[in-house]
């Protein structure tokens, strides 16, 4: 058989539990716009019943725990997709600058100078001994040379600025890794003392998501609520409460910053996030374009020089180099190409030594249609370069567009699990309020019953 005091206890305990539920609802509503917040839910449970005689009485309800609702697999997938998007975004932002340098649709690029160079020989062939036309050939050659130099320098400048961004990204990664290590300790401490670690986990997830936009992150559950973070290739970032700072150091030959983790060079092993996109532009895209430009400039100057040497200048002397000789293996040819002669009469337009012969000028002009640059004409090789630049941007753009849809879907799923819904919280608030009021009413009834009882024995 029950007693009134027990009933009063049940009512009070219920009020406490509902109060906890109202607190949680209030916290959910307060954090409706907090990034990374996962909604919380209260678990209410029956307290253990008591047996009096052969009757079992319930003893009320209590607040068992407050749970953060998140789907850790979904969180992982969001982070992975974020890494992919970070890489594509940072690649695109640089690649779009590259394509602006060669935007032939608006007349920017090498085509006009390349064509004008050969056209100057075409015009010279109409009057090979004319010094004005010869001067025009030198000018066209100089224009072409400086167009090569400018393109090459612009690429080098872009590479340099991306290099600075690499260092900044590494610094950001280090800062985030430190913060994650601190929060990791807090999670572990909360878990070991049996407290609700939800708020710390929210914070940690948010930091890991930020880190994912910078670099590829692989999460390993280290037990006890603690996480170990490495790159997908195993370079350590955070282990328990310890973070591992990465360092950068300039490569002695390229002067570009290489990334070191605990003494080993991990530059080539970064596969995701903004940092990977930056490295892709810096270490692959730009060097590949520079290589193509160098081949074009180097092979062109070698072919023109060879043909030029086969001819004779205005005074009948054998021709020399028209352009400065290309460096060995064409390395840096585009940046260093220059017209080697300054005297227009030194142009070897003649193939037989007579001043008015245009045979050699015609032969140099004919190079325009010869496939001597990796099996392509000069303009063909350049068109190939233009195609590659545009195509790289286009494919990154379409990957980025597809990826961003995937990411948004994943984020919607994540929001479905963890997002705070004001309608839901409002309904819960009413539910908990009603329960609280009812319990309070019960307490008040029991109070009056107790009063009645006391009055009964003590008139």
């Amino acid at each position: 058989m029950g007693n009134l005091t027990a009933g009063l206890n049940i009512a009070l305990q219920s009020m406490l539990a509902e109060q906890g539920a109202i607190d949680t609802t209030s916290n959910n509503i307060a954090n409706v716009n907090t990034p990374g917040y996962a909604r919380q839910r209260v678990d209410l449970e029956e307290t253990p019943p008591i047996q009096i005689g052969n009757i079992t009485y319930g003893t009320g309800a209590q607040l068992k725990q407050v749970l953060s609702l998140r789907d850790s697999i979904l969180d992982l997938r969001v982070n992975q997709e974020t890494q992919q998007q970070g890489k594509l975004d940072s690649f695109l932002s640089s690649a779009q600058q590259i394509q602006a340098l060669f935007n032939e649709t608006s007349g920017t690029g090498l085509q006009s100078d390349l064509t004008a160079f050969f056209n100057s020989f075409s015009e010279l062939s109409t009057n090979p001994s004319d010094l004005n036309l010869r001067q025009a050939v030198l000018t066209a050659g100089q224009n072409l040379a400086s167009a090569f130099q400018q393109s090459s320098n612009s690429l080098a400048n872009l590479q340099h600025s991306v290099d600075l961004s690499v260092t900044q990204s590494v610094n950001q990664i280090n800062t985030l890794a430190q913060q994650i290590a601190v929060v990791n300790t807090q999670v572990a401490a909360a878990v070991s003392s049996g407290q609700n670690a939800g708020a710390f986990i929210d914070q940690r997830q948010q930091l890991i998501n930020q880190l994912s936009s910078l670099v590829d992150v692989s999460e390993i559950d280290a037990g006890g609520g603690s996480l170990t973070l490495t790159t997908s290739n195993g370079a350590a970032l955070v282990v328990g409460g310890q973070s591992f700072a990465w360092t950068t150091q300039a490569d002695p030959t390229t002067a570009l910053q290489h990334i070191y983790s605990q003494g080993s060079d991990i530059t080539a092993r970064i596969s995701g996030g903004q940092l990977a996109g930056q490295l892709q532009v810096r270490d692959q895209e730009i060097p590949s374009l520079q290589g193509s430009l160098d081949t074009l400039a180097g092979d062109l100057s070698t072919a023109v020089n060879t043909q030029h040497q086969a001819g004779f200048d205005l005074s009948g002397a054998a021709g020399g180099n028209f352009f400065t000789a290309a460096p060995a293996g064409n390395v840096g040819a585009a940046a260093s190409i220059q017209v080697a002669i300054t005297d227009p009469s030194r142009i070897a337009a003649s193939s037989d030594g007579s001043a008015g012969d245009n045979g050699n000028s015609n032969a140099i002009l004919a190079l325009q249609n010869q496939n001597f640059i990796n099996g392509l004409t000069p303009i063909g090789a350049y068109a190939g370069l233009v195609f590659k630049i545009g195509n790289d941007v286009q494919s990154a753009q379409s990957n980025e567009a597809a990826g961003s849809q995937v990411l948004q879907q994943l984020q919607n799923l994540q929001g479905g699990v963890s997002g705070v819904d004001i309608n839901e919280e409002s309904a819960n608030l009413i539910r908990f309020q009603n329960a609280y009021s009812a319990s309070a009413r019960v307490a008040s009834v029991i109070d009056s019953l107790l009063q009645t009882t006391i009055d009964m024995v003590n008139p």
């Binding site: 649709t105 064509t115 062939s125 109409t126 010094l131 007579s354 545009g390 286009q394 753009q397 919607n412």
Partner: protein, 298 residues
């Protein structure tokens, strides 16, 4: 139980607005630039073909410019040849006069003097230059081709027998000069030596008829050679027509590659405007939807 939806719909709404805003920008850019391809990435393969197209068009321009220069040069050469014909005709005419047995010795000397003058003129015509280059020196265009020895009235050719070819489209070329030796010292009719011989014959009175027939065959040879200029000027005109047509084709190819159909672009613009506006309207309505809180009464 149904799947719980993401209560935060804002990202979806914003993405949709951003997307239609992007379409609107693209449509505006296409319409204002008249181009479908404004960045290499809009159509990499069209951009690469555009490079070749522009290269070819600029080459055509250069060929046209070359042809127009050659045309002027050939016109000068042709009018020089015309003067030579007039000059030789005059030589035949006065030579015939001198060959007449009734002409006195002193008159013959006077005619010989005029022939000498004609020879000097012929040499000077043979040394005509155009834009600083001798027209009839072969490819030795900086060397004065003909020099007259005043003592012997013999003309020496200092040029060479070569000619240049100026490249045109698709490997075609046009010959850009005829050597003076071929024009004026041809084995079939040597104008220079014919006048020299006529001068000597008139002076001495010997074999005037023989010298006269030399001049006549030189005259006919010069007329034959002159045909080259007429032909080459015709060739230039037809090449110019071809190149102009090629430029029209290239320009239409460029339009196909990167141009935009104005009607399509205008429709795109109208569509993307409508889409953008309806996205904004929808977002405004959705954001103004009431929540349960608005219906809970104390």
């Amino acid at each position: 139980m149904s799947v719980r939806l993401n209560p935060n719909i804002l990202p979806d709404l914003l993405t949709s607005i951003q997307e239609s805003r992007g379409n609107l920008n693209t449509a505006t850019q296409q319409l204002s630039s008249g181009r479908r391809v404004n960045q290499l990435s809009d159509d990499p393969s069209a951009a690469a073909q555009l490079v070749a197209n522009h290269d070819q068009a600029a080459q055509d321009d250069q060929f046209l410019q070359n042809l127009s220069g050659l045309q002027s040069k050939f016109q000068v050469a042709d009018s020089t040849m015309s003067s030579v014909v007039t000059l030789l005709t005059r030589a035949v005419s006065i030579g015939t006069e001198g060959a007449n047995g009734t002409v006195s010795a002193s008159d013959r000397q006077a005619i010989a003097g005029e022939v000498q003058g004609l020879l000097t003129q012929l040499v000077s015509l043979g040394n005509t230059s155009y834009q600083g280059a001798y027209l009839f020196a072969g490819t030795a265009s900086t060397t004065q081709p003909f020099t007259l020895d005043p003592a012997t009235q013999q003309v020496v050719y200092n040029g060479n027998g070569n000619s240049n070819a100026v490249a045109l489209l698709n490997g075609a070329s046009v010959k850009s000069n005829v050597p003076g030796s071929q024009l004026f010292q041809n084995a079939s009719g040597n104008a220079m030596s014919a006048l020299g011989d006529l001068y000597h014959a008139l002076q001495t009175g010997n074999n005037i008829a023989g010298a006269l027939s030399e001049v006549e065959s030189a005259l006919s040879e010069v007329s034959v050679q002159r045909v080259f200029y007429g032909n080459v000027l015709n060739q230039i005109t037809s090449s110019e027509n071809f190149l102009s047509q090629d430029k029209v084709n290239l320009s239409s190819q460029e339009n196909t590659l990167v141009g935009v159909d104005p009607a399509v672009a205008a429709t795109d613009l109208a569509q993307s405007q409508t889409a953008y506006q309806s996205d904004l309207a929808a977002t405004g309505q959705i954001l103004n939807l009431p929540s349960l809180l608005d219906f809970l009464v104390h």
